[in-house]
Amino acid sequence: MPPTLIEMRGIQRTYVMGDNLVHALRGVDLDIDAGSSIAIMGTSGSGKSTMMNIMGCLDQPTKGTYKINGKNVSGMSKSELANIRGRMIGFVFQSFNLLSRTSALENVEMPLLYQGVSSRDRHKRAMAALAAVGLQDREDHHSSQLSGGQQQRVAIARALVGDAPIIMADEPTGALDTRTSYEVMGILQGLVAKGKTLIIVTHEADIAAYASRVITLRDGLIVEDRQQTPIDAAAALAKVTAEREVADLALAEKNKRAEKAS
């Protein structure tokens, strides 16, 4: 029985909007085991991001208790929270959130800076993380010089450089095309294979299919929680690639015939 890494009890999150209260989460109970991969689904506005931000210690619940690795987060000081974020969690944002005018390498090194890692080790580990996402030759590129998929891979490299046991990703493929989505999912699945816990927010069913557990939120409550056998992103990528090659071949053949005819 793997240990419980994340434990939420009666989590509520209420936003005050002028005179109105917006109940983004209305009482969520959830346990997540170490080493599992879990997808959080739901319609827009159902509270996925809110829940993810609380899990990532980026936001605080209005009510309820949240324990990460057995430690209660409520009542922790800002620097204790920062410590947990730095050591326990690698966060991937939908909007990448890379520092502008900053090289990929520096972006990836950043979490290590706050853990007191020496300059040499920072460089070594950041280069390794960039290599792990297939960007070893883009270390000097700034965000503006990278494609969306490449930026997201830099963000993933930044999430895994600290070797945190939990990777959280909020719509990591939201801004990417299908093929690039498979690439990114392949990288994330590889991390699960290495024993990390993956929590991913998505509203696409075919992305959720890569997780071993799917949770569905509606109006700030969990309405479905099921286990499944994840499909393999690497295989899906291979299939897409093969299909494209076939299509390319067909196109080339067609062009050749057209040439002959004229």
């Binding site: 990532g56 980026l58 974020r85 950043m110 706050y114």
Partner: protein, 409 residues
């Protein structure tokens, strides 16, 4: 994070935002530079005015012949001769108790020559007390004593400028110079006094009064063609002394109630005070201009810093999301602002120093570096730079990372 890494990061962050860094720095540089230049200019001007009038000697009245208000066309003061040598004797008699010394002077500009060189300079004939009134001593040789001052000896005490022009680097004492072809022996060289209200104080030759009358005037005259310096026993007696001298001379000149004075008494100290007051006003004005430019520089810095708050708040959100503690964020921003403010501050000091020196040279003021003002300007500009650099950090560090990441205005 060690301090070295922090500095390296700060410099890199500043470099990354070159335009912002440059604009912020410009505000600080020109704010500080302007303040220093203005205040240095004001104080330099004041110092030089003071120096000029200090060289006159304080506590002195200048008496000259001619009507109080002479029309421009009929010539300047002293053009109508009215002061007699008998008048001088009466002043010397001790009848007016507040008068300490009386030094009749006669001056002309003429050519002086040594074996080596010619020099057009001012020649003054006077007595030994003149040196006491002007508080002027010899750096070489001696000034006149009572005997030589009242003699007809052909001796001369010369100013440093004349010494340099006529005798170059040799010791002038004992050497001969010719004034209007007459040989004089140099018996003293005066200490340097620099610029005075009538130009270079040191460009002068002093000879005994009687010698002057004989050799320059060719004979004794009834009237004194020159001025009489009167020194007073104590300060603050100017008004009373002027009244007494006026009464004495009017009586001697047999002027009755309706007649105007046929002589003039000037009080240089009064004139000096007026000059000082006006330079003080200029200095105050310059200081105000300086304060305003510092303020404008400060506002410029604030503007740029505030405009970058959104971007910086997001950056702080990102940093906190990957594990930066509030203290890390604050340290980073503090160091960044410190680097910015101190580099800008030093450049500002250099600019102010250069401008102050240039102005001093251009206007012939004394160069003066206002340490205290420089400190204040540095403090204000630096404080604004650091304060507004830290502002987003202090605010953002209070936020949850997600709020900082979403920050929009």
């Amino acid at each position: 994070m060690n301090i070295f890494t922090t500095f390296k990061l700060a410099i890199r962050a500043l470099w990354r935002n070159k335009v912002r860094t440059l604009l912020t720095m410009l505000g600080i540089v020109f704010g500080i530079g302007a303040v220093i230049a203005m205040v240095a200019g004001g104080q330099g001007a004041q110092a030089s005015v003071k120096e000029v009038f200090d060289s006159l000697g304080t506590n002195v009245l200048v008496l000259s012949g001619g009507a109080q208000r002479t029309a421009g066309a009929s010539g300047g003061a002293g053009s109508r001769q009215s002061l007699t040598w008998e008048d001088v004797k009466a002043l010397e008699s001790g009848e007016i108790s507040s008068i300490k010394w009386v030094a009749p002077t006669m001056s002309t500009r003429t050519q002086a020559a040594s074996e080596e060189a010619n020099w057009n300079t001012s020649v003054t004939g006077t007595t030994s007390v003149w040196f006491k009134i002007r508080n002027w001593e010899a750096s070489r040789g001696a000034t006149f004593d009572e005997d030589t001052g009242n003699s007809t000896a052909k001796i001369a005490v010369i100013g440093q400028t004349v010494a340099t022009q006529l005798f170059a680097n040799t010791n002038p004492i004992g050497q001969t110079l010719r004034i209007n072809g007459q040989p004089f022996e140099v018996t003293g060289v005066l200490v340097t006094k620099g610029q005075g209200p009538r130009g270079d104080n040191d460009d002068t030759i002093i000879i005994p009064l009687k010698t002057y009358q004989q050799k320059m005037e060719k004979g004794l005259a009834k009237y004194l063609k020159g001025e009489v310096l009167l020194s007073m026993v104590e300060e603050g007696q100017a008004q009373r002394t002027i009244a007494q001298v006026t009464a004495l001379l009017r009586d001697r000149h047999k002027l009755d109630g309706a007649d105007e004075d046929d002589f003039r008494i000037r009080n240089p100290a009064e004139f000096a005070q007026a000059q000082k007051d006006s330079t003080e006003r200029i200095a105050t004005l310059l200081a105000i201009v300086a304060a305003v430019s510092l303020l404008i520089g400060g506002i410029g810095v604030m503007n740029i810093m505030l405009v970058s708050v959104i971007e910086r708040t997001r950056e702080i959100g990102i940093r906190m999301a990957v594990g930066a503690k509030p203290i890390d964020v604050m340290t980073q921003f503090l160091v960044e602002s410190l680097v910015l403010a101190s580099v800008g501050g030093l450049l500002g000091l250099a600019l102010g120093y250069g401008a102050a020196q240039y102005m001093a040279g251009y206007f012939g003021w004394k160069f003066f570096f206002p340490m205290e003002t420089a400190g204040i300007a540095f403090g204000v500009a630096g404080g604004v730079g650091v304060g507004f650099g830290l502002y987003p950090a202090i605010r953002a560090a209070q936020l949850d990372p997600i709020t900082a990441l979403r920050y929009e205005s």
